[in-house]
Each structure stands twice: as C-alpha cells, then as structure tokens.
Amino acid sequence: MSPHGTGPPEIPGRSCKIGRCGADVAQRSASHYPCSQMSLDAGGIATGGGVRFLGQRRSYWRLLIRGAMLLMLTLGIYRFWLATDVRRFLWSNSEIDGEPLEYTGTPLELLLGFLIAIAILIPVYAGIFLAALDLGLLGKISGVAGFAALAILGQYAIFRARRYRLTRTIYRGLRFHQEGSAWAYAFRAVAWWVVTALTIGLAYPFQMASLERYKMRNTYYGDLAGRFEASGLRLLLRGLPMWLLVFAPIVFAIVILVGTVDWLALAQVIAQGGDDVMSKIEGSNPALGAAIVFAMLMSGVSVTMAALLYPAFQAVTLRWWCSGLRFGPIEVRSQLRMRNVYGAYARFVGYALAFSVVMGIGAAIVLGTIGAVANIGKMTTASEIVATVAALIGYVITALGYSTIYRATVLLSLWQLGMESLQLSGLSVLEKVKATGQPSSAIGEGLADALNVGSY
C-alpha cells in the first residue's frame, strides 16, 4: 500500500459544505506529491492513522548547510536560530489528521534561556572549583559531588526543556503543556541511570518505561491528559538478543583472561616494581600476552556488534516508545520497519564517505601549499598562526560536516519514519478538547545547552 493509497487523510474529519474542500484537497495533493516522491522508500507504511510528513529533504539540507556555515561564522551563537529553524521545519511539516503542527518558540527565547542558565551555572562551577581546592574531606569528594550535581542538573534541564518545547507546540489552536516537578524527575532519572549502569544496561527498558510514564502523565494536550502504556519488560525481551550479542564476546574474553592468568605471580611482580616490570610480568605469565590479545580481539567484536546493531536498537526503541503514547482516548500504534532505519544509516555512511573524500582532497591541497611555502621561506610565527588557523578551520568544517550529514540523513529519517509509521485511533475527541496551560520559560533549554544535554 502506498502512503497515499488511502487518499488524503484529512477527509474523514472534515465536511465540505461551502465548496472549498474539494479544491483544497486537490490543491494540497498536487503540492504534496513532489514531497511524497522525495520521501523515503515508505512502501508498506500505511498512513491511514492520519499522520503524514510533508518535509522536502532538499529544503532541510539547505536549511542545515546554511546553518552550519553561520554556526562557524558566529562561533556557535547561531545555534539558537538553527535549532528554531529545524523545529519549525519538523513541526510544521508533520501533519496529524490533516492539520500540521506549529512551533511557536523563537531564537531570542532560547538565547535568553541560555544567558539565564549561565547566570545559574557560574556559581555552581565556582563552588565546585573552590571545593576542589579544599584539603579536607570536601576536596576529596568534590569530584564525585560535582559530577553528581551536574548530572542532576542535566536531568532537571532535560525535563524543563521538554516543558518549553511542549508549550511551544500548537495543534489546532491549542497548546501542549507539561506539569510535574523537574527536581522529582531529575532525582528519579539519575537514580535510574545508576541502576542501569550497575546492571550493564539490563535495567534500561524499565528506566525508559518509568521515566516516560512520569513525563507522559504530566503531559497535556489542552485538557486532554497524556499517559504512557508501553511495558519495560516487552522492550527488554526485544532488546535482550542484541544485548547478548554485544556483551557475550567481552564476558567470554574476561572469563578466559581470569582463567589463564596466574594472578598471584602477577601481583608479586607488580609489588616488586623496578624498571623492567613488563619483562618480569611476561616471565611469570607466559600466557598473559595471548590472553590480552584475545581480549582485545573480543572487545573489537563487541564494539563492531554494537555499531552494527545500533540502528536496530533505535528502531526497536522508537517503535516501542511510539506505541506506548496515549492522549485520553487517542491511542498510537507504530509499524516502524527496521530496514528503513538501516536505510537511513546506509545513506549516512554513503554521504559521509563522499564528504571524507572531498575533505581529504581539500586537506592535501592546503597542506601541500603550506608545505611549499614553508620550504621556500622560513617558518615564522605568522605562518605558524596561519597554519594553525587553517588546521582548526579544517577540523571544524569536518566535524560540522559529519554532524550536518547525520542530521539530514539519520535524524530526519527517524523523525519522518517515526511520524509516517504512526496509526492513531480515537481522533474524534479532537472535536472537543479545551485549551489550558501557559507557555513556560526557556531556562531548561538554556541549561540543557550549557550542560550539553540538549537535543533538537
């Protein structure tokens, strides 16, 4: 079934009595068809549930490339404008039941939020710095305490930033909003992260489920309360094979390492010390070298597995998450296909390789020129500065290039695939939702930005 095989999804909820509807549908379809050709190989994804993504890949590329250039020119200040542009694009091209979402946030709000965040963070950083200078207990725990404080603050920021984004999301003339305590969320999230780390990721599905439940039961569309109904156990069962494939090689290697090494002899040699520790270790433990090589090999297998399985993990998580969303009687189901996510990553790899080749050729030309100049004349301080600046610019272009390609391929595709895979039911409630909620400040966005925990 083609994405448009069921006809424009806005028809069910709409009557056509004043004679504008037919013309409107024809006109909309005409202008949307080019987009549908731009869209991914969405074959098999039904949009009968009333969700479509209309964004053109090319306009998104243009937006991102211009943004990357301005980011470089403005040393990053432009990120507030770029983030707003990106959100406007994604929101306004996501159409639910024939009606596109609207993002009403502005770059100046984000900039203000960032400035407020700096004002909050300066004393925090100064406190951590002073605590580190203390000779007593305070100095000893300052590293851990500072890390914990920043981790909690980071989660706090994530919750507050979500509130900002929700209250700037308008649909059918009504605002979304979020209640609940950001501090309660922050402590809960950090506690969960500790549990997840201690269980080597096995608790992650339950963490996701618990945190999403907290977020969603505090989320409202108008007076319509949200909730989250996906079960952590189900995600665990789906993710467990991947977890085993990633961690089995490492566990196997550790078992082998523990079995072959004579730990007593090793401890003795290390305790003795001296200049030739390495050769002594080799003498006491002939199998150690081979065991270490094996362990490194297995770690390589694990890392490769993790990289290869990451798109599958993302697909499983996204589909599970979408399928758990509820707003009053509205239920969401996702039919996200794993191969589509792999397709997005394949495109990322393709673009990244092409970009690497271009950058390599460019670097060879620049390096050759600098080398030739340095051979002719002497390397002066001025030419050193020129070389340093050239290297820096090259590095920044490379990093920004990869990040732009990632956003234009993987992130856009995840958004589009996620949106297009949705099937909504219970939409008739949309005739009578009432407005509530007020816009919130952008402090959370600013903190998230300053602490590097931001997203979109």
Partner: protein, 371 residues
C-alpha cells in the same frame, strides 16, 4: 482589486477548543471577517494585528498579535493568501524581516568575537596581574598546599623504599646543608615577605618548578646537569622570581578567566571544543612566555644582588634548552633559549663574583639524592 478575491475559504480554530471550523473569510477595508458556514460572524481581525506563523510552505497560517488565546486562521489558496499578504504589513512571505535579523546576529557575533579575543589577549593577563596582589598570602599558601598535593601525586613515581624528597637520609644531610646555604644567601638578597621552602626531589628531568605560596622543587636531574653551584643557584633564583611575581596564582586566575570566556560564552557546537582548547593553549603559552622572561630578569638581578654570577643561569639554560627546540613557537611556553641567554647575559653585572659553595660543599650537593 479583483472582486472575486475579496473573499475566500479558510480553516479557523478559535483557540478555546480544538474543533475545526471551515470558514468564509471576507476582506473588508480595515479588517478581515471570519464567518462560519451558516453566516455566523466568528471573528473580525484588523490587518495590522495579523501575524504570520510557522507553517508548511503551501499554507498561510495567521494568528492575532497580542491575542490571549491561540486563534488560528489557515489559508491554502495561494492567490487568496497573496491578497491578505498585500493588506497586512506584518505578514511578510518573502522572509526579508527574518534575513535582516539573521544578518544582525552574524554582524554582532563577529563584533563580540573580536572583543572577546581582545579581552583574552590583553584583558585577562591585566586582570590577573591586578587581582593577584589583592589575594592574601594565607589564601595563596592554602592554594599552594592544594596544588602541592596534586603535583606530588603526579610527579612521585613511588619507588619502593626511597622517599620522594632528597636530603632526608643521614648520607644526604651534608647535601641538604649545602642547599640551605644557597637558599639563605638568595633569600637574604631577595628579602621576600614570606619564607621559601625549597626541596630537591627524585626526578630525572633537568627542571625546577615553583608553586603558589613559595614552595620550590628542584629536580635531581638539574643538579646532575649543573657544573657548579652557581648554575643551581641561578635556576633557584629564577624560580624565586616566579614566587615573587606570584606567577602560579596568576596562571590559575588566567586559566579560570580563559575557561570562563571561551567555555561558557562560546563554543557549544560541534567542533567548537577544539577551537576553544587551541585558543586557550596559544593564549596561555603567550602569558607564560612573558612570565618566564620576567622571571629570568628577576633571577639575573637576584644573582647580581647576592654577589653571584648571573651568567651561570644563562649557561645552564643553554645546556637544558639544547641547540634545537622542536615544535611550534606559538605553543612554546617559554621564550627561545637563544633570546633568553642573550637577555640574561646583558643583565649580568661585570664585577667579580664569589661562588655560592666551596668544592667540598658542591660535591655534597651533587650527592643530595644519595649515590
């Protein structure tokens, strides 16, 4: 005006409920009228209150400026949208307003960057110079103690059985006495307001460091490389220069200032981290180059005052620095050795000097770390 375009179809949301209203929009001279299918007037929006909101490319989405509810009117007919655009000053479908704002952002950030670099180059060292003397000696001492713990942790290789500091064992006390003799003579000449602590430590590099608060560490590698006591005294005099100028504290303030300037205000974009680190390294190298030159001048002056041979400092620097210095000059944390040697020799007093130690004491100092 084209008569048929004076009215058109639209979708209206009243901002109170999520119900969708298919409406007829009529363009009156000063406002547009929104009425429902059965002719009921739903809204009357003056043109100057119209604002365009983010929407897909083929849709004109209008809101009302200063409205307390999120009323929305959506027009999909491009010709009719153009009619409204022509009447409403604030609706700007060409994006010229946005472009102007963006240009202003770019312009002002370029200006801000220039002023930031100027502050980093001139302002940060100037502020650190002014702030450092205001810091009470007790706080500097405390700071020095904290740094001392960290430095010792980094430098001490913990060879089993031997203490990190030299001059503790009975066979080493003669060397310690010789060192103290040098320090006494230099300290008397320097007349610092607080006491110095000088120790020789077991490190093979030919180097010496000064911490905030007056702790000086001379590495045994330096004593191994020195050919007479005046060379060791010259290096200690140079380090006393750092202590007197409070360079350690100054460097910490400078580092904090730069971290704040670059880390906080700029750089949270992909690749920005490298820019920040590079800028910091280059700027801090330039600060320390100045501090080293000043400490050289102080060291030479102190040697003159103590009646020693200032040229000895130049001699040992030449030995340590070697003939070639690899790497980039802008990353060098001290001036080029050739320039340092020349500057010190220029400052050296012409008159005869008396050696810091007699041959026996010098031999003892050579063995301050045993063997």
């Amino acid at each position: 005006m084209n008569a048929p375009m004076a009215s058109g179809a639209g979708i209206y949301f009243d901002g109170v409920t999520s119900a969708r209203h298919d409406v007829l929009v009529v363009l009156k001279p000063a406002s547009l009228h929104i009425s429902s299918r059965d002719g009921h007037l739903l809204g009357e929006w003056p043109y100057q209150e119209l604002e365009e909101l983010s929407a897909p490319a083929n849709l004109l989405r209008l809101g009302r400026r200063n409205s307390t509810v999120l009323e929305r009117l959506e027009i999909s007919d491009p010709a009719f949208a153009a009619e409204i655009d022509a009447r409403a000053a604030l609706v700007d479908r060409t994006g010229a307003l946005q472009r102007r704002q963006r240009l202003a952002v770019v312009g002002w950030t370029l200006g801000a960057t220039a002023s930031l670099l100027l502050v980093a180059w001139f302002g940060v060292p100037a502020i650190a110079d002014r702030l450092t003397p205001l810091l009470p000696a007790a706080i500097e001492r405390k700071l020095g103690d904290a740094v001392d713990v960290q430095i010792r942790g980094m430098l001490d290789s913990r060879r089993s059985g031997v203490p990190f500091d030299c001059g503790k064992a009975t066979s080493e006390t003669a060397g310690r006495a010789a060192l103290d003799k040098i320090i006494r003579r230099l300290e008397t000449a320097a007349a610092l307001p607080f006491a110095l602590r000088t120790d020789v430590v077991r490190r093979n590099e030919a180097n010496a460091i000064a911490l905030p608060g007056g702790q000086v560490y001379v590495f045994r590698g330096l004593i191994d490389k020195a050919d007479n006591a005046d060379e060791v005294a010259g290096v200690i005099a140079h380090e006393i220069g750092h202590v007197a100028h409070r360079d350690g504290t100054k460097a910490m303030l400078q580092g904090a200032g730069l971290s704040f300037l670059f880390g906080m205000l700029l750089g949270d974009f992909v690749g920005g981290g490298a820019v920040v680190v590079t800028a910091k390294v280059i700027l801090q190298s330039s600060y320390t180059r100045e501090a080293e030159a000043a400490a050289d001048a102080y060291g030479a002056g102190l040697m003159n005052k103590a009646g020693g041979d200032a040229r000895a400092l130049a001699v040992i620097l030449d030995k340590i620095g070697g003939a070639t210095e690899p790497g980039m000059k802008i990353l060098l944390n001290h001036p080029e050795t050739k320039a340092r040697v020349a500057a010190i020799n220029k400052l050296a007093a012409g008159r005869a000097s008396s050696p810091f130690l007699d041959p026996a004491e010098w031999t003892a100092l050579k063995h301050i770390c045993g063997s």
